[in-house]
């Protein structure tokens, strides 16, 4: 079902955590709330769950206004970062808890638990206790418990962050598949941009309680709405050059190139992603600098190049073999650059 946040504010005492958040999650959509710690993403999720009161604004799930409803009447299911499995109950009782609480018959509960356990491959572990399970298995119990009721929406608070890297990758795939199969609206909170990019239909990027951009992963990556988004998404992050725009030309201390923008602006930041840059002979590229550090990542090498007034990172071939201090050139196509107004931070469209 559709979930809508309308102008949500939340303060804890004097501290404003969420400032006027408007968000609409479409029916069946996988929406990721992405942000650093302190961005208000978890608070936003907890307000949807009913674990925190809103300071102002309205929350709707489907057609219902749930702003002041108790969590249990919101028809949602939540997966916690800690999984929050009930340690004194078996896997069976854990998964069946939402139905037990609703007073469903023993037979109905058993059938439902078995069915959902099969979907997450837990059928052989139903008699175990949470402490007897591995991290990945616990994670699946938490998922099964959320799935058993077919709620109006899933809320997930960093569900994968307690798993080791390999298992995380596997569970990411599983999660995406499961969400697609069930078609249940999902709000997923994470600070991990890889999770956001791979899982989401749309990503909502938050910074200090304010929504920065809400768009598909592709658009967020290719057309970041402002400097914050541009700097947050992408690893290694985008390179920024301070300069001015005049008569279609961007010029800074270190380089000058032509853009499609005709307007004049004295405070402009040009951004270019490391993978859009390439190393050339000094003089052949747009920028000249010298090698500051090289890091071999396996399939590529990250070259940090010192230029006047800063550094610039280039994603180079794995065969890159200059020494530190060598003079190199850096080139990039004009079309790959992003221009931002320095004062407002907004993208110059």
């Amino acid at each position: 079902m559709q979930v809508r946040l309308e102008n949500i504010h939340k303060s804890f005492g004097q501290v404003q955590v969420v400032k006027g958040l408007d968000l609409e999650v479409r029916d069946g959509e996988f929406l990721v709330l992405l942000g650093a710690s302190g961005s208000g993403k978890t608070t936003a999720l907890r307000m949807i769950a009913g674990l925190e009161k809103v300071s102002s604004g309205r929350i709707r799930i489907g057609e219902r206004d749930v702003t002041n409803l108790l969590p249990k009447y919101r028809d949602i299911a939540m997966v916690f970062q800690s999984y929050a499995l009930y340690p004194h109950m078996t896997v069976f009782a854990n998964i069946g808890y939402p139905l037990t609480v609703r007073g469903e018959s023993k037979m109905a509960i058993e059938a439902a638990v078995k069915d959902v356990a099969r979907q997450v491959q837990l059928d052989a572990l139903l008699e175990r206790y949470p402490r007897q399970l591995s991290g990945g298995q616990r994670q699946r119990v938490a998922l099964a418990r959320a799935m058993i009721r077919r709620p109006a929406a899933f809320l997930m608070d960093e569900p994968l962050s307690n798993l080791d890297a390999k298992l995380r990758g596997y569970m990411r795939t599983e999660l995406k598949h499961m969400q697609h199969k069930l078609g249940i609206t999902t709000l997923y909170v994470t600070h991990d941009q890889v999770e956001a990019m791979t899982l989401a239909h749309r990503v909502a990027l938050l910074d200090r309680g304010v929504l920065q951009q809400l768009d598909t992963p592709t658009n967020i990556y290719n057309a970041p709405a402002n400097l914050f988004v541009a700097g947050f998404i992408g690893s290694p992050p985008m390179n920024f050059l301070d300069g001015a725009l005049d008569n279609g030309w961007f010029s800074s201390q270190v380089c000058k190139f032509e853009t499609k923008r005709r307007s004049a602006n004295r405070d402009v930041v040009a951004g270019v992603r490391p993978e859009d840059c390439k190393v050339t002979e000094p003089g052949a590229g747009k920028i000249v600098g010298d090698v500051y550090a090289t890091e071999l990542m396996g399939d590529h090498t990250l070259v940090t190049c010192r230029i006047e007034g800063g550094t610039i990172v280039v994603k180079a071939d794995k065969a890159f073999n200059r020494h530190d201090g060598d003079s190199i050139g850096v080139d990039f196509p004009e079309a790959a650059t992003h221009l931002f107004d320095k004062r407002s931070g907004d993208r110059l469209a």
Binding site: A49, G50, L51, L70, P71, K72, R74, I76, A77, M78, F80, Q81, S82, Y83, A84, L85, Y86, P87, H88, Y97, P98, V101, R102, Y129, P130, R131, Q132, L133, S134, G135, G136, R138, Q139, R145, N162, L163
Partner: protein, 349 residues
């Protein structure tokens, strides 16, 4: 063994263990000597009571005799008298009923209160509390001066409600959870002897002196602070995620308390149960004042063996043995439950 180990001096070998698996000789001797000494201190009085219960007056007065069959010939005289001729069963049953029911009641109410203090934020206006106290004093004064208590109470309640709706609202100062908790625990700071007479008079007016009800209700009240104090930390130790998850799964606050919180602190509850049970089982002062024949408990009966003919040690010993026995048995049963480790696996992988 290496050469270095062989060459260790005698003193060194005495104090330094050869491996991680065993202790060195000197500390081992020291530890066991200390343990043996303390065991003697703890067990000897129990032994002494036990052998005394098999003695007769002469054997006690002309003693001390330590070893049955060697020093003196044991008899069952005291046991026969106490179990068959004297009314011991009545006080014993009283003790069982009073101790068990008051402990269970204190545990139920106390844990509910402790849970509320941990999970709910209270803000009672200080002005409301003060108004209440002032009105209470006024009612007492009015009744003492001859006003009918029904009228005085009714007027006071009306005034209190009026105050709540009017000037009380304007005051900021409020009593928080810590104040409430301190107030509860501070009830135990007052010496019981101070409260005994008022309690006696109260039950006298209620015509409930010498009833199990009087003892049960008094003990429950007296032990509530201890239960609150002890269990609040257990509840505070439960990860909030578990309870929030249960709420989202559809459980009410009471259901969360009884199906999640309470089972998770059961080892702590077992320890608290044991402590409070021992306190009530052995309580003397209140029992002495509030009972005489019908509701008399074991401690009073034991004290009663100190007669005009001097203390009847052999009878006392019989009573003490049968008083101690059940407590030791219960403690043995609960030992398993007092073991920790229940929460392991609840949170994190």
């Amino acid at each position: 063994m290496t050469a270095q180990q062989k060459s260790r001096g005698f003193i060194r070998r005495l104090f330094e263990a050869e491996s991680l698996e065993e202790m060195a000789i000197a500390p081992k001797v020291g530890v066991y000597a200390a343990l043996a000494f303390w065991t003697l201190i703890v067990l000897f009085p129990l032994y002494w009571v036990l052998v005394t219960s098999f003695k007769i007056e002469v054997q006690v007065d002309s003693g001390p005799f330590y070893l049955p069959f060697v020093d003196f010939s044991p008899t069952l005289d005291a046991w026969n008298f106490m179990l068959l001729e004297n009314n011991t069963l009545g006080p014993y049953l009283n003790s069982v009923v009073v101790a068990l029911s008051s402990t269970l009641l204190a545990l139920l109410f106390g844990s509910l209160a402790a849970y509320a203090l941990v999970r709910i934020r209270f803000q009672v206006k200080l002005a409301a509390v003060l108004t209440f106290i002032v009105l209470l004093i006024a009612v007492i004064a009015a009744v003492a001066l001859g006003a009918p208590w029904q009228a005085a109470t009714a007027i006071a309640i009306a005034l209190f409600l009026l105050a709540l709706g009017t000037f009380v609202r304007r005051f900021e100062a409020a009593v928080g959870n810590n104040d409430i908790e301190f107030w509860m625990i501070s009830n135990r700071i007052m010496p019981p002897i101070v409260a005994v007479l008022p309690i006696y008079v109260m039950f006298q007016h209620l015509r409930l002196l010498d009833t199990q009800f009087a003892l049960i209700s008094t003990y429950t009240g007296v032990n509530l602070p201890i239960v609150v104090w002890l269990t609040r930390d257990f509840f505070a130790g439960i990860p909030l995620d578990l309870e929030e998850s249960a709420e989202i799964d559809g459980a009410s606050k009471f259901r969360v308390f009884f199906t999640i919180a309470l089972p998770l602190v059961r080892s702590g509850l077992a320890a608290t149960f044991m402590l409070v049970l021992i306190l009530t089982w052995n309580e003397f002062l209140l029992a002495l004042f509030l009972t005489n024949a019908n509701a008399q408990t074991m401690p009073v009966l034991v004290a009663a063996q100190n007669t005009t003919r001097g203390p009847q040690w052999w009878y006392m010993s019989v009573l003490i043995v049968i008083m101690i026995a059940p407590v030791i048995i219960i403690a043995g049963f609960l030992q398993k439950h007092i073991a920790r480790g229940l929460l392991i696996g609840a949170v994190k992988g």
